[in-house]
């Protein structure tokens, strides 16, 4: 693999998104969202880091995946459909270089917009409400970036399976609803195995270990839990409770890394074998 080729393709992908104003639009959305959340959290004036993130987390866990899916869902399929990939792949580049380059370029878009957006908002919060929990806020930004890269990796992988933008869009929507579909399945399994939600909520029963582990298959829930851990908040699945020791911040980050790496490897594997 030639890293210069990866860089050339990644650079073009990033510059494309600068030119079409995506990067700036995302950055502005993140700034506005974080500041609005902060004002909500601070009950009328800019709140501290913890109050801000408490409000921001739920919406960020939806918005970041949406943006990543929109960036990535047609990466390969769109270019197969319009023919630009026939040209690109006739050049002295390997398919691995092309896919990794595109992921790197789009990933940079996510990193830049998230860090700039939440970072600028963070600076405003620091100026208004002080530096309390600043480290936790930086972890929140990091976990959001990772969440974006997870969804980007999954949608880029799915784009290697399709030849049309429209089918890709369908799969993108499926990816977006994955967390809620999956959550429903897990909840159903919990109830079907004799679980009692009321008992959980009132603290009379413990969440079974398999449910804790199942969270690793839902990147959005995982990220939210990671942020809770970063702020030392004790709640999960919307309820106040103690997380078991195996749900730790490093475990969350390792799971996110796997969620980025595995779909990307599958994508490369699939892309190398397909016809254009």
């Amino acid at each position: 693999m030639n890293l210069k080729k990866v860089y050339v393709i990644g650079k073009k992908e990033f510059l494309d998104n600068l030119r079409n104003k995506w990067v700036i639009a995302m950055t502005v959305i993140f700034i506005v969202l974080a500041l609005v959340a902060s004002v909500f959290g601070g009950k009328g004036s800019i709140g501290g880091m913890e109050e801000t993130v408490m409000v921001l987390l739920g919406i960020a866990a939806i918005l970041v995946p949406i943006i990543s899916i929109m960036l990535g869902y047609a990466t390969i399929s769109g270019e197969v459909e319009n023919g630009s990939l026939s040209l690109l792949l006739s050049y002295p580049v390997t398919r691995t270089e092309v896919l990794l380059g595109k992921f790197a370029g789009l990933g940079t878009v996510i990193v830049v917009a998230t860090v700039a957006g939440f970072g600028i908002a963070g600076a405003v919060i620091v100026a208004a409400a002080g530096t309390a929990k600043l480290g936790s806020y930086l972890l929140f930004i990091f976990l959001c970036v990772m969440l974006g890269l997870v969804y980007l990796s999954v949608s880029v992988f799915f784009s290697t399976l399709c030849s049309k933008r429209s089918t890709s869009l369908g799969l993108g929507i499926l990816i977006f609803f994955w967390s809620s579909i999956y959550g429903t399945v897990i909840l159903g399994a919990f109830l079907a195995t004799g679980g009692d939600l009321m008992a959980l909520a009132t603290g009379q029963a413990e969440i079974p270990a398999w449910m804790w582990y199942s969270m690793f298959l839902s990147p959005a829930d995982l990220t939210q839990t990671g942020v809770m851990l970063a702020f030392g908040m004790k709640s999960a699945f919307g309820y106040a409770m103690e997380t078991p020791a195996y749900i730790s911040l490093p475990a969350v980050v390792v799971a996110q890394v796997l969620w980025i790496a595995v779909p990307l490897i599958l994508g490369v594997w699939r892309f190398r074998r397909r016809d254009i």
Binding site: Y91, P92, I276
Partner: protein
């Protein structure tokens, strides 16, 4: 590989190539050779398997069976450095200008960026060099497609329907450009479904139908093979449905008459002879027209001859 034998290595060798898409056989045991330094016309009706074959040559499509050698080597990324490819269905990145597009591709090919300005001038896009590609017409897109092929002066050009979308003036210009490129030593293979597009610039042609090669040879050989003959129709005063005696004895001529119209089917070279015979006889020619056999007719003939042999 011994240096002495290298001139015998074909620029492209396609060996027993087969590509199936499910039940559909797009390419069926195809063999062909493009010699170094020649212009090879790859002919066939739409859906014959031309694009699939060219895509396999470029590594875009994986063959079901058989393989392709480029300059004696299995095609990989490094081999593609020396090839200029023009896909049939092509699209550029809408946000980029032609200059930016060529800079991107030059980076991928490690080609000199200094030549970009000259290439854009060569294809006549210098006026549009800083406009976004998104607003381009099909013809302008095709010109940019040709421009990107020329980056790094490759020694092999693979062009899929390069003249579609170009008007007559650009077609002429494009043919001249191909001739120059060829004279400078590059090998060219290009596909077309129009015989007239290829016959005056191709050293050899290959005709493909339903994924099989029906014919490979020079254009003259093709004409001989197809026994292609143009039709000459002449309006003669007072002909009254009779074929002049002088034409009946001529070799390679079929003449028939209907009213004042005389129809003569003959070789390209014999048409002038026919006209002078008629004039010498003192017949008054009121009008005449010629019709060339179309490629479709030729394909029909070729198919009929192939199927007749079975």
């Amino acid at each position: 590989m011994p240096a002495t034998g290298s001139t015998d290595v074909p620029a492209i060798e396609v060996r027993n190539l087969t590509k199936k898409y499910g039940e559909v056989v797009a390419v069926n045991g195809l063999n062909l050779k493009v010699k170094k330094g020649e212009v090879y016309g790859f002919l066939g009706p739409n859906g014959a398997g031309k694009t699939t074959t060219l895509k396999i040559i470029m590594g875009l499509v994986h063959p079901t069976a058989g393989d392709v050698l480029i300059g004696g080597k299995k095609p990989d990324a490094e081999v593609r450095r020396d090839i200029g490819f023009l896909p049939e269905k092509m699209s550029f990145y809408d946000n980029l200008t032609p200059t930016q597009t060529l800079e991107f591709f030059a980076d991928l090919k490690n080609a000199e960026k200094k030549e970009i300005r000259q290439i854009l001038r060569d294809v006549g896009l210098q006026e549009a060099a800083e406009r976004r590609v998104g607003g381009f017409s099909k013809g302008m897109g095709q010109l940019l497609g040709i421009a990107q092929c020329m980056l790094g002066s490759p020694s092999l050009y693979v062009l899929d329907e390069p003249m579609s979308g170009l008007d007559a003036r650009w077609r002429k210009y494009f043919k001249d450009k191909l001739k120059t490129i060829n004279q400078n030593g590059a090998t060219i293979i290009f596909s077309s479904h129009i015989l007239a597009e290829v016959e005056d610039i191709c050293d050899r042609v290959g005709i493909i139908h339903r994924g099989r090669l029906l014919f490979e040879g020079t254009v003259q050989e093709l004409h001989r093979h197809l026994k292609l003959k143009p039709k000459l129709e002449i309006m003669i005063e007072g002909l009254a449905g009779k074929v002049p005696e002088e034409l009946k004895g001529m070799e390679g001529i079929e003449a028939s008459a209907s009213g004042d119209w005389l129809t003569v089917v003959c070789d390209y070279g014999s048409r002038a002879a026919v006209m002078s015979i008629l004039e010498r006889k003192g017949l008054k020619i009121l009008d005449f027209r010629t019709s060339e056999p179309s490629l479709e007719e030729s394909f029909d003939l070729l198919l009929a001859s192939v199927e007749g042999r079975r």
